[in-house]
């Protein structure tokens, strides 16, 4: 019923009032002439009100004349009539169009530039670079080429390891991932903190500029504030002035690596038993002639391909090949390795792994090696303790939004 109602609304219908004495006859005539009428209401002894489609109303008019009644339109409803009234009220339509026009116009500008993930670069610097290349607040968003913007930023800031430019609605979002190695010098015009780039135990803090907030013996986590660039004066505790902090933070750091090595080594040895199967291969699709179970528990599969017709001399490549599948039986033997030798070799391997991670200017304090044996597996842990500068400059205010 709802579908019919919606359909009638879209097509438009009229509410009509019929006055006369032979109203039942009119209803019968309408029904037999396939005029659809609904919501027939008796208003009075001589008056009924009903709804009819616009088409049905036209047909009804001639029927009304036949039975000698009077018909009168009470109301017109539906979508076509709304359109008609809108045609008369041109200014309303114009206002509607203008409304959409303004909405579309306003949403086609960039109203906000958001920069995420910049820790060592000032937001102002990025925005200034973009502005030099004609990208700023108030520019039409369709004129901004995302790929080009990316290129511009990557050229100007060569230490960005990842960059994504995204336009969502009226917001230009630039997501940056900086390389762990900071640029040679963070611009001294901008205030910054010094934070820890890895965890460690503080040995010594030398603050050339700014105020140290950690002392000797403190355990710091990655990202923890070490030297603050906000200096509070005694009168005004809330809004201190900002400085570009500088200094060295030496800390004891630990590197460890575990190498696992099985003491028992499996060696595969061929017994000499061979089981063969043949197949045909056309280009990359193969047919295996006999698909039987391989009668060995452990085996190596060797596949040989051979061309049936060899016409390489004439430079013709016929892609039909005979394939021989060879299954060679193997016996698995377990051999116990020399423990001392194994310990030595795995210790060297672990140390090599740590050396890869170590920064250049570190001072190695101690080296510790531990061995555990668990289920025939030798675990070798090498721990190296070093003293290094763990300070990393981070520009203030970048994390607030």
């Amino acid at each position: 019923m709802l579908a019919i109602k919606i359909w009638n609304y879209l097509k438009g219908y009229v509410i009509i009032k019929v006055e006369g004495l032979t109203l039942e006859r009119l209803l019968n005539l309408a029904a037999s002439n396939n005029v659809y009428l609904w919501d027939v209401k008796r208003i009075d002894h001589t008056v009924i009100e009903m709804k009819a489609t616009t088409k049905g109303f036209k047909a009804l008019k001639s029927l009304v004349k036949k039975v000698g009644c009077r018909v009168e339109i009470v109301d017109k409803k539906g979508f076509p009539f709304i359109l008609q009234t809108l045609k008369k009220r041109k200014m309303l339509g114009l206002g509607f169009l203008m409304f959409w026009g303004v909405v579309i116009l306003l949403t086609s500008f960039i109203w906000k530039i958001e920069i995420l993930g910049n820790e060592q670069t000032a937001q102002e610097e990025i925005i200034k670079t973009l502005k030099d290349h004609n990208i700023s607040i108030g520019k039409i968003k369709y004129s901004i080429d995302k790929e080009k913007t990316r290129q511009i930023l990557l050229e100007n800031f060569d230490y960005f390891s990842f960059l994504s430019v995204d336009i969502k609605g009226t917001k230009l979002t630039i997501e940056i991932k900086e390389q762990d190695l900071p640029p040679e010098e963070v611009n001294k015009d901008y205030p910054c903190h010094i934070v820890a780039k890895k965890k460690g135990v503080i040995m010594k803090v030398v603050a050339k500029n700014g105020k140290s907030v950690v002392k000797k013996g403190d355990v710091v986590k990655e990202g923890q504030l070490l030297i603050t660039g906000i200096i509070n004066t005694e009168e005004d505790n809330e809004n201190g002035f900002l400085v570009h902090s500088e200094g060295k933070v030496l800390a004891l750091t630990r590197y460890s690596h575990i190498v696992e090595e099985s003491i028992i080594k499996k060696i595969e040895e061929e017994t000499g038993e061979v089981y063969k199967e043949r197949g045909l291969k056309v280009k990359d699709k193969g047919i295996q002639f006999i698909k039987g179970d391989v009668p060995y528990k452990d085996y190596i599969e060797v596949i040989n391909e051979k061309k049936i017709i060899n016409l390489d001399k004439f430079n013709i490549d016929i892609p039909i090949k005979i394939v021989t599948y060879e299954f060679r039986e193997v016996e698995i033997k377990e051999v116990k390795q020399n423990l001392d030798f194994l310990k030595k070799s795995s210790q060297i391997r672990a140390t090599q792994e740590i050396n890869k991670e170590l920064p250049d200017d570190v001072q190695i304090v101690s080296k510790d090696v531990k061995y555990f044996i668990e289920d025939n597996i030798l675990k070798t842990q090498v721990i190296i303790e070093t003293i290094e500068d763990i300070g990393k400059k981070q520009i203030i205010n970048n994390r607030e939004d």
Binding site: L23, E24, L27, Y36, V40
Partner: protein
Amino acid sequence: MKKSVDNVKYNLSEALELPKDIVMDLPKITMIGNIQLNLSNHKGIIEYTKEIIRVNTNSGVIKVTGEEMEIKTILSEEIMIVGIIEKIEIIS
């Protein structure tokens, strides 16, 4: 003559289990509580007021008595009456 044709039709629908309202062209009345009445296979309205609706059918005049009744839809095959229905009479 007409009687015998009707008889044949009746026997046929009995034998083949065909719906009688279609085979014999008889009205079919469906009611939902006392608020709605569907009448298919009608032959025209005779009287229509808020209290009494009389409809002609093949099995005689069906008189529906009630209060605040109104014809929801009217088609050549079907009439739907809504309102408070109190009584249905078949006058043949």
